[in-house]
């Protein structure tokens, strides 16, 4: 793969912006993306003829969308591709962080997913720790007598709270595992659904 030796300054500026937005892809992926788009633009310029006007360059760039929009498309498509290979929450979150850095939609999906995975992990952790701390780990209701009750997931590393009771007892083990796994799965599916909707909304030019 060689790099074409001629390109318009506007095109180079566009590609530099895109390159910056594609942080998170590895260097080889970024180089391939940029080289392919440069090749596309050179082909489009060739169609325009020998005397290329600035307006024609602007039209070619506009057809691709802004660098931010294009980077968004690459990131959400990459998220969906990674999800087809592996649905590991860490991989999903890694892609969501990149998406969030570029769009408000991505930011909200990231925040929701972080919360979903966090509470899923808490449920699972409490369930796992219950056999090791049978007296203290679990879902507790605290300060009931003061009229200001609050729920608390306790891992069991601290002492038994004086004004509280373990709500689920040993039921936290099956229920915690079930709720935790369900929450993690639901979070992954929701994030991918949002990514698909986002991508679909930008697939065809407005009619």
């Amino acid at each position: 793969m060689t790099t074409p030796d001629h390109a318009d300054p506007k095109i180079e500026a566009y590609l530099a912006k895109l390159r910056a937005q594609l942080r998170g892809f590895n260097d080889q992926q970024v180089a391939e993306i940029v080289a392919e788009l440069r090749s596309h633009m050179i082909d489009k310029l060739a169609i325009s003829g020998d005397a290329v006007t600035p307006a024609q360059v602007d039209a070619i760039l506009a057809a691709l969308g802004t660098p931010e929009e294009l980077a968004n498309q690459y990131i959400t498509d990459n998220l969906l591709a990674r999800a087809e290979v592996s649905r590991s929450p860490l991989r999903i979150l890694d892609s969501l962080f990149r998406w969030a850095s570029l769009s408000v939609a991505g930011f909200f999906v990231l925040i929701s997913s972080v919360l979903g995975y966090f509470f899923g992990a808490v449920f699972i952790l409490v369930a796992i720790l219950k056999p090791f701390h049978p007296q203290t780990a679990g879902l507790w209701l605290l300060h009931e007598s003061t009229g200001d009750p609050e729920f608390s997931f306790r891992m069991g590393f601290s002492s038994t709270p004086p004004d509280g009771r373990d709500l689920l007892g040993w039921w936290i083990v099956p229920l915690g595992l079930l709720a935790g796994c369900a929450l993690v799965t639901l979070t992954t599916r929701s994030a991918l659904w949002c990514a698909r909707q986002y991508r679909k909304s930008r697939t065809l030019p407005p009619t």
Partner: protein, 123 residues
């Protein structure tokens, strides 16, 4: 009545856009069925052989995704124009997926045709 007509037209347009989006992946696999093509050629093939007008900013990320999941592979080829072009070709998995999707499409389309025949004839 005009606002209602406009809303109905918008709903119909929206449905048509969703329908076209849904078959974009199959359309790309079909465009590559007879051999390797580069991005701009795929866009032109979609435009000439179907009504799918795909935005240029969509096709490249989508091709990148299809490559990531192993449905297409790519190679750089030096062109007569003096610059390299990235060509895409179907992998074995891509051909299989294309055949499966085309089969589903044919069955679905055939059953819908029967159902829709009276509407199309305007009865």
């Amino acid at each position: 009545m005009r606002p209602r007509d406009t809303t109905e037209q918008e709903a119909a347009d929206k449905w048509e856009v969703q329908l076209r989006k849904g078959c974009l992946e199959l359309a790309i696999l079909a465009a590559l069925w007879e051999g390797k093509l580069y991005g701009l050629e795929i866009l032109r093939r979609l435009e000439s052989d179907s009504d799918l007008i795909v935005s240029e900013g969509t096709i490249y990320p989508l091709l990148s995704r299809l490559k990531s999941v192993g449905l297409v592979r790519s190679e750089w080829v030096e062109s007569d124009a003096g610059h390299p072009r990235k060509y895409y070709a179907l992998t074995g998995a891509g051909k299989q997926r294309g055949r499966e999707m085309a089969g589903m499409w044919a069955r679905f389309s055939s059953s819908m045709d029967k159902l829709l025949a009276p509407l199309v004839r305007g009865k």
